[in-house]
Amino acid sequence: MKPLAAILFRDMRIAVRVGGGALMGVLFFVVVVTLVPFALGPDLALLKRVGPAILWLAALLASLLALDRLFAADHDDGSLDLILMGRAPLEIVVATKGLAHWLSTGLPLVIAAPLIGLSLNLDGPAAAALVLTLLVGTPALTFIGLIGAAIAVTLRRGGLLLAVLVLPLCVPVLIFGVAAANAAVGGTVPFGTPFTILCALTLASLVVGPFAAAAALRQEME
């Protein structure tokens, strides 16, 4: 437990410092969401309709940002080699790093979402449902992103490759996340249906992500 706790706190401390992912992620999220009304026009009814989708898209892109350096930074300073040689199972360590990434990048997004959602005329039950779907869905985005981050770890400009690999895999999470957020405010589908599927996707990614990422890391670092 102690090495895992150490990795968790180390990653979170690095993330909140300057150059880490945490503040940049939230800032990017806020900037993207602010850009949207300039593109769509100020029609509040329209913004309210597409609000959940915009917030989900921005959350997806903001999660991608910090994934880039998740393993690459450790690879650069040699700590990835130490982790691979250590006694803790690599899958658990990768899952811990994923948890640290979510706590430092995903959770701030969930907290910022209802506040910035007000600029898209999103309040009340719509915002509550959106926050709930983001809370359940952002771990899935992180853990699926682990796979791409592990594959792209040794590359110089791996950031774009990571996005190309991760985004198709994140599409189901996006579909059901937005469906659940929209279902809460009306429509024929009850909120529970896409929401439980979203929960299932997250639970599956919590398992598949670390295993695939650990396998990729082992192959890349040989």
Binding site: I147, I151, A152, T154, L155, G158, L161, V164, L165, L167, P168, L169, V171, V208, A212, A215, A216, Q219, E220, E222
Partner: protein, 242 residues
């Protein structure tokens, strides 16, 4: 000669040199027969002659999915059994499978315009096939971005195994969701629901396209083996010169 004998690249090259002309020849004959049958097939009572796009669209879909299936088996070959030609197979199949998937998407889009009234719709079947195409592009990107071929092979293998979840999603998408795309009518419990006059040409064209797929994959594998030999020779030459 067992499959295991073909693991030797030199033996495989000899096998490929012998097989590719014959396989290609049979594919051409099958195409000649298939196109003839397709021309003779009757028009659909509702769609008219546009139903014959099916003879391109359906084989494209099946071969796009078969391509990913071949890549999945090759990925297991790379990661689990360490078969020497597994990563060559995976690298060779990726662009060919992607091309067939693209053919499926484009012909389907052209077919949809007169029959559905739209080039595209975001229903489950079309979305999951488009995702398959994007996954193909992702795997091809991994092959081209990682320099060491064996490292690239293992990274691509993991991505292929993760992406294989899309195949059952595509197959069952028309059952699990309300889709504009029609439900399964060839491979279903209770037999096919297509009339024989159209089903037979469809199956012949599928055989022709599959033979083409096999020929192209073998030729691409041969090219990849030769490419690796050139790369090794260049590396030896460069280190000898320094």
């Amino acid at each position: 000669m067992a499959i295991a004998d073909l693991a030797n690249p030199a033996r495989f090259l000899a096998f490929a040199d012998r097989t590719i002309p014959w396989l290609g020849g049979v594919a051409v004959i099958a195409f000649a027969f298939g196109i003839n049958q397709a021309m003779l097939a009757p028009d659909d009572y509702q769609q008219g002659a546009t139903v014959k796009i099916m003879f391109l669209h359906v084989p494209g879909a099946w071969l796009g999915m078969l391509g990913w299936g071949v890549m999945t088996v090759a990925a297991l070959g790379t990661l689990v059994w360490r078969h020497p030609l597994a990563d060559v197979t995976a690298k060779a199949t990726a662009p060919i499978g992607a091309a067939f998937t693209l053919m499926c998407l484009v012909t389907g889009s052209l077919w949809g315009r007169p029959t559905w009234g739209t080039y595209w719709v975001w229903d489950a079947r079309l979305t999951s096939v488009l995702l398959l195409f994007l996954l193909y592009l992702g795997v091809i990107a991994v092959w081209r971005t990682v320099e060491d071929p064996s490292r690239a092979a293992r990274a691509a293998a993991i991505l292929t195994l993760v992406g294989a979840i899309d195949l059952p999603i595509i197959k069952f998408s028309v059952e699990w969701w309300n889709t504009l795309h029609q439900p399964a009518s060839v491979m279903r419990m209770g037999g096919s629901t297509i009339d024989k006059s159209i089903l037979i040409p469809l199956l012949i064209m599928t055989v022709a396209f599959t033979l083409t797929f096999a020929t192209l994959v073998l030729a691409a594998m041969r090219n990849e083996i030769l490419r690796r030999r050139v790369r090794t020779l260049r590396l030896i030459q460069a280190s000898a010169a320094s």
